[in-house]
């Protein structure tokens, strides 16, 4: 027995039509530009769709306003480095145990302080004891942690200087990315989830900046802004394919250029992997949404007070869905770093990694998984294609102007900045004229 009103055929055909339109965009890009670039956009679109699913889980199902998405994406990337990069036994011997001990000491300090806060009676004594524990713990942590970090960073700083990874297969790093993001989300949710919505937004905005700051500055972790390249890949390298006799014979059979084909094959393999993850997450999310759990989440979202009166533990459910959503974002972050083959903390920008994902969810239709996926594909395509389209447009506008005039040069330079403007306009238009998104919640 289903308690949900069955989707009417009208909305189903609308969904199909919209997805067909997006497919046409990608196929069109393939014909007009090249299949290589179309597939390149598709791969990031798949990852973006997964990120949008994570945000949709938090915002669409539960109404949690998390604008710290960038932080969880970055944590997923960090997980790839820690799981799959080459182990560095020297670095680990030099400072590994010290770093672990230092971090444990730091966590223990906070744990003891929290426990004291809960146990001791309210009053001056509690404040003094807590402060003493925190200050003492901080100095103890620095005393253990700092020399260990110095030792690790002194280990061949030109090439390494980081703690190294576990050397495990990179596909394993994706769930690890989810786990790392989930762990961070637990800590964040424990402190910040009680806040009301716009405070939560400001708090998560700050957390994301802190995560990026840590990844930029803690060189022992993943070499900071010196970046870390050469991460393993789950698919073959193009150059290896081009040397492979089997592959060359087949390319000759089909009468295609082996160099272009190798790159397309690699991109298609990535697309297959990413699509599998996306489908799995969509199916699980849909099942969750249709289960009693999903109905409870939406009941909480729509009226917290009455849900609480029905005996639902709102805080716990919020924490749960915050962790789940962040884990999905973390998985997507790990996939993105795998696709890039490198971790570059300097490139994480909240406009691109937090607010753009929000645009995807709002435009696609919050509360609807297919909507979030559609938003991910559509907005990512737009984000990439706005630049060439803008350039074409500017060429048209400036065609009548004299070559070398500063206005012409300025306008053509400015075409590169059309992206943000377009995204803002798209977001505002959808919010105004179709506030529930392109594929509204059923």
């Amino acid at each position: 027995m289903s308690t949900r009103i069955n989707a009417n055929p009208n909305s189903r055909s609308r969904t199909l039509l919209l997805f067909g339109l997006v497919a046409a965009l990608f196929i069109g890009t393939g014909f007009v530009q090249s299949w290589n670039s179309s597939l390149g956009i598709l791969n990031m679109a798949l990852i973006s769709a997964i990120m949008a699913m994570g945000v949709n889980l938090q915002w669409g199902y539960a109404g949690l306003f998390n604008v710290g998405i960038m932080g969880f994406v970055a944590l997923g990337g960090l997980a790839v480095v820690l799981t799959s990069s080459t182990p560095l036994p020297d670095a680990w011997r030099a400072g590994g145990p010290g770093i672990v001990a230092g971090l444990a000491l730091g966590a223990a300090t906070i744990g003891v302080a929290v426990a004291l806060y809960k146990r001791l009676p309210k009053g001056r004594l509690r404040t003094v004891v807590m402060l003493a524990v925190l200050v003492g713990g901080f100095f103890a942590y620095r005393a253990v942690f700092d020399p260990a970090v110095a030792a690790v960073e002194a280990n061949n700083p030109a090439a390494h200087g980081n703690i190294g990874g576990l050397g495990l297969p990179v596909l394993l790093a994706w769930p690890m990315g989810g786990l790392l993001a989930a762990a961070a989300a637990w800590a964040i949710g424990k402190t910040a989830l009680g806040l009301r919505s716009d405070y939560l937004a400001i708090a998560t905005l700050g957390i994301a900046e802190i995560i990026i700051a840590v990844m930029k500055n803690e060189d022992w972790l993943a070499r900071g802004v010196k970046n870390l390249i050469g991460l393993p890949r789950p698919v073959p390298y193009e150059v290896d394919l081009q040397k492979d006799a089997d592959f060359l014979a087949r390319a000759a059979d089909w009468g295609v250029d082996p160099v272009t084909t190798s790159s397309i094959v690699v991109k298609l393999s990535y697309a297959g992997l990413f699509a599998a993850v996306l489908v799995a997450i969509v199916v699980l999310s849909e099942l969750a949404l249709k289960s009693p759990w999903g109905r409870m989440m939406r009941a909480i979202r729509d009226n917290e007070v009455s849900a609480e009166a029905m005996g639902k533990d709102v805080t716990r459910r919020h924490l749960q869905i915050f962790i789940l959503g962040s884990a999905i974002v973390g998985i997507a972050g790990a996939m993105m770093t795998t696709l890039d083959g490198q971790l570059t903390p300097g490139t994480y920008n909240p406009l691109r990694f937090t607010f753009l994902v929000w645009v995807m969810v709002i435009v696609g239709g919050s509360g609807n998984n297919l909507g979030a996926v559609l938003g991910g594909f559509l907005i990512w395509w737009l984000w990439v294609m706005v630049e060439p389209i803008g350039l074409l447009l500017m060429d048209g506008i400036t065609a009548g102007m004299a070559d070398g005039s500063w206005l012409k040069a300025h306008l053509q330079d400015a075409a590169a900045h059309m992206r943000l403007l377009t995204m803002g306009i798209v977001l505002l238009l959808v919010l105004r004229f179709s506030p529930r998104g392109l594929i509204p919640e059923k």
Binding site: A201, N217, A414, H417, L427
Partner: protein
């Protein structure tokens, strides 16, 4: 033991920079808190409003400089400020007319307004890049120092110097004047009183015949003015880079929340609390301590609690502590 030199070092590296930074944050937070009080949402586009206002000021400054108009030993940007404020206010009023008014009439939930402000943020950010680009721009001219470290040393004979940049002095003086004017306006004028009434209790204010559209318009104008002034002062003191302004959102919100959202006095106090904590936690205290303790106990390390890159962590920690223990801020702000 050399208390005098320690004090001067403290003033030079902590107090003076903290005071100027605090004034800039406080002005930014005042704008954000006014919008929260009257329009009842956290405006995520506030950092970009600051950036856009500064962009206008830079353009006018360049125009003045091209015409050969300067402001003597003061930066030309101060002369450009009124024009920039008018342009920013006109832009913001346009945004309100085209975007926000629709949702206000619908009585949309605050979260929806926050998401709408994200859209406005994208547009402002894009426009700003469109107009002036993403590079770093220095537009300060005029005198560079009120007093240089060398002059101070020569004057006092101390080993430590105290340098006060002209932009720091200008920041503090401007902030005092602006805050004075704002409070006079809010306390004494009819419009200011109606704004406070509207902020305290919308329904009662409407019942007593206050025109809500007018209150909202005045609020936007004041917020645009404050944002432009804060942005220009910050840009004069450091330099202008659009992305840095976006990131100022965090300390600004932290200041507004610490002081109690919707409370102007709180926003000022919050601005200084956030700024001084940031400077003090990220300052390497070695120099000051070396003067204070006997030579044998002089510290080896930098005695820096956190590296400067973690300054966001400071605003954030203050924010979380205040929200957990004093949910409505130090001065009573709005809750729920």
């Amino acid at each position: 033991m050399d208390i005098l030199n320690a004090l001067v070092a403290f003033a030079n590296f902590v107090f003076v920079p903290g005071l100027a930074y605090g004034a800039q944050i406080a002005l930014g937070a005042l704008g954000a808190t006014l919008i929260y009080g009257i329009l009842r949402f956290s405006n995520f586009a506030h950092g970009d409003t600051m950036a856009l206002g500064t962009t206008f000021a830079i353009l006018v400054t360049w125009g003045f400089q091209a015409l050969g108009i300067t402001f003597g030993f003061l930066p030309t940007a101060l002369l450009a400020l009124p024009f920039a404020i008018i342009m920013t206010a006109a832009f913001v009023l346009g945004t309100d007319r085209v975007v926000y008014r629709f949702y206000r009439r619908q009585k949309a939930a605050p979260t929806i307004l926050v998401i709408v402000s994200l859209g406005v943020m994208f547009i402002m950010n894009g426009l700003n890049r469109f107009i002036i680009g993403v590079g770093e721009i220095n537009f300060a001219d005029g005198a560079r120092f009120v007093i240089t470290a060398g002059d101070f040393r020569a004057m006092t004979g101390l080993t430590e110097g105290l340098a006060i940049k002209a932009t720091q002095a200008i920041t503090v003086v401007t902030a005092v004047i602006v805050v004075g004017l704002l409070f006079w306006f809010l306390q004494k004028t009819r419009t200011g009183k109606s704004m406070r009434a509207f902020s305290d209790n919308e329904d009662l204010a409407l019942l007593s015949g206050i025109n809500p559209d007018r209150v909202v318009q005045v609020t936007w104008i004041i917020a645009a003015g404050l944002a432009t002034i804060a942005g220009v002062l910050y840009g004069l003191d450091k330099s202008f880079k659009a992305f840095t302004y976006f990131q100022l959102l965090l300390p600004i919100f932290a200041a507004a929340v610490v002081g109690g959202l919707g409370n102007p006095l709180g926003a000022i106090a919050g601005g200084f609390i956030v700024a001084f904590s940031e400077v003090m936690v990220t300052y390497a205290w070695k120099k000051v301590l070396t003067y204070l303790v006997p030579e044998s106990m002089a510290p080896d390390g930098l005695v820096q609690l956190m590296s400067t890159d973690y300054k966001f962590a400071v605003s954030f920690t203050i924010l979380i502590i205040v929200l957990l223990f004093l949910p409505t801020g130090i001065f009573k702000g709005k809750s729920a």
